[in-house]
């Protein structure tokens, strides 16, 4: 398999600066005058954000370049429970991430980089920052990431860095216009910056040599659920999902369905065997997103699984918008009733009504992403839902506890 981001990996440890530079080469030193050139290279490379939304990196960089005293923020919050790629990069390849952040900062003219990273990666990142200290680079500040799914949303990240509760605000204005301390701020995902660090070394053609025309390059994929080993793998965008499952040791049982793209993603029939490309995933309502693949084994009850996911996501609401707070709680409520065999056909009707009603209603994409995932489940598992609504708990549910009792338990609702 093609490794790029992970090509300097050392077993069980953090790649130090010497080894990093020996494998990847020296970091070209760009400056403010190179903004147009870097925007052109990123456009030609087709680099898209790896935090989930897939926004073109060149466009955001162009928006911030040339503004007065901007900031660069590295978003390593990774609130998605099924994702662990950003902490892998921060903990094991911190210099690649810092190379990307420093380059972006030099080019947009930022005097400071703020790295928002989970506490478990701080030793590695702090050591990497120390090792680079002698070089002529913008200041790098390390901030412990806040916990929670919504804490990773970019305006919530900025609030957290400013010392306020990590909740989103209404946008626009986007961070590129008004970010930290009211100044233009480039917020970029950890993996996006790691790719940028390689693109400035090797160019756009090199980047495009693998991947698909629409989404070139490699991607980190976090695989979990009904596989032998949950973990993170680097693959070219466009590989068959089966290859990704094989890298995780293969499924331990027939795969009923795959949740692709994470808790904002979409459920796809296990027999569909799509490739990991937006073109293959779009008809199912999914995208490569942040590279999350969760396998649901044939022995699990999908209704129960979706009920637990919905409950968890409802509990993650930042509690600010009426339709997010009430709508997600109501949807989780009907799903838990259905899962526990206490639901009725009317609950099914409400499920469809409410997933449509909540779509697009929040200040941030949390309710929208959540109801789209649930709507994809309602389509794929329609028969199972009907079965629960009319006949109560199914055979797969026998011997398991009630969804109501476990709904607010561990985050890894699917893996459990």
């Amino acid at each position: 398999m093609t490794t790029r981001l992970l090509s300097a990996a050392v077993p069980h440890g953090t790649t130090d600066l010497a080894h990093h530079r020996a494998v990847h080469g020296a970091l070209p030193v760009l400056g403010r005058g190179d903004a147009d050139a870097l925007v052109d290279v990123l456009t030609a490379a087709g680099l898209r954000g790896r935090g989930g939304a897939g926004f073109p990196a060149a466009r955001k960089l162009a928006a911030v370049a040339g503004s007065r005293r901007p900031f660069v923020v590295v978003n390593g919050t990774e609130g998605e429970p099924a994702s662990s790629k950003d902490r892998l990069l921060l903990g094991r390849q911190p210099h690649l991430v810092l190379d990307g952040a420093v380059t972006a900062a030099r080019v947009v003219g930022a005097g400071e980089v703020v790295v928002v990273a989970p506490a478990a990666t701080h030793d590695a990142v702090a050591r990497a920052i120390d090792d680079r200290a002698a070089r002529d680079e913008p200041a790098i500040r390390l901030v412990a990431a806040a916990e929670g799914y919504v804490a990773g949303e970019e305006t919530a990240v900025l609030a957290h860095v400013e010392g306020r509760p990590p909740v989103p605000r209404l946008a626009p204005p986007r961070p590129a216009e008004r970010g930290l301390d009211g100044r233009p701020t480039l917020v970029q995902n950890v993996e996006t910056l790691a790719h940028l660090a390689l693109i400035v070394r090797h160019g756009a053609d090199w980047f495009r040599a693998v991947g698909t025309p629409e989404r070139p390059g490699t991607t980190l994929v976090s695989v979990s659920g009904a596989v032998a080993r949950r973990g993170v793998h680097e693959v070219p965008v466009g590989v068959p999902v089966d290859d990704v499952l094989r890298l995780a040791g293969g499924p331990g049982e027939p795969v009923r369905a795959l949740l692709v793209g994470g808790y904002f993603g979409a459920w796809i029939d296990g027999a569909a065997r799509p490739a990991l490309t937006d073109r293959d995933l779009r008809p199912h309502g999914a995208s490569v997103g942040a590279g999350v693949v969760i396998a649901l084994g044939a022995s699990a009850c999908p209704v129960r699984t979706v009920a637990r996911l919905a409950s968890w996501m409802s509990g993650q609401s930042a509690g600010q918008c009426g339709s997010c707070v009430n709508g997600l709680a109501a949807i989780a409520g009907v799903l838990v009733r259905l899962a526990d065999g206490d639901g009725t056909p009317d609950d099914l009707r409400l499920l469809h009504r409410w997933t449509a009603m909540v779509d697009g209603r929040g200040a941030c994409a949390h309710p929208t992403g959540t109801v789209r995932m649930i709507a994809s489940a309602a389509r794929l598992f329609a028969v199972d839902l009907e079965d629960h609504a009319h006949h109560g708990r199914c055979a797969a549910c026998a011997g398991t506890g009630r969804a109501a009792a476990t709904a607010h338990g561990r985050a890894g609702a699917v893996a459990a």
Binding site: L170, Q320, G322, S323, C324, N326, G327, A330, R361, A363
Partner: protein, 75 residues
Amino acid sequence: MRRAADREAAPALALDPIACVGHGLCAELFPEGIVLDDWGFPIVLDEASDPALRDHARRAAKACPALALRLRARG
């Protein structure tokens, strides 16, 4: 009936769902443009941007005690 959020262009009447406290005054004043969801929170419809209804939209925006509705300049 279409929701403003479904469209590409920004609606003429913009709701701040964080500021909104959901007592529904706006839907009472401007039922052609705003309906309430099952929890009493407003859904801004496409019709709210109808130029013929601009005075109604303005009245609803002015009446919102939470300053959660803003009339945008057209364009």
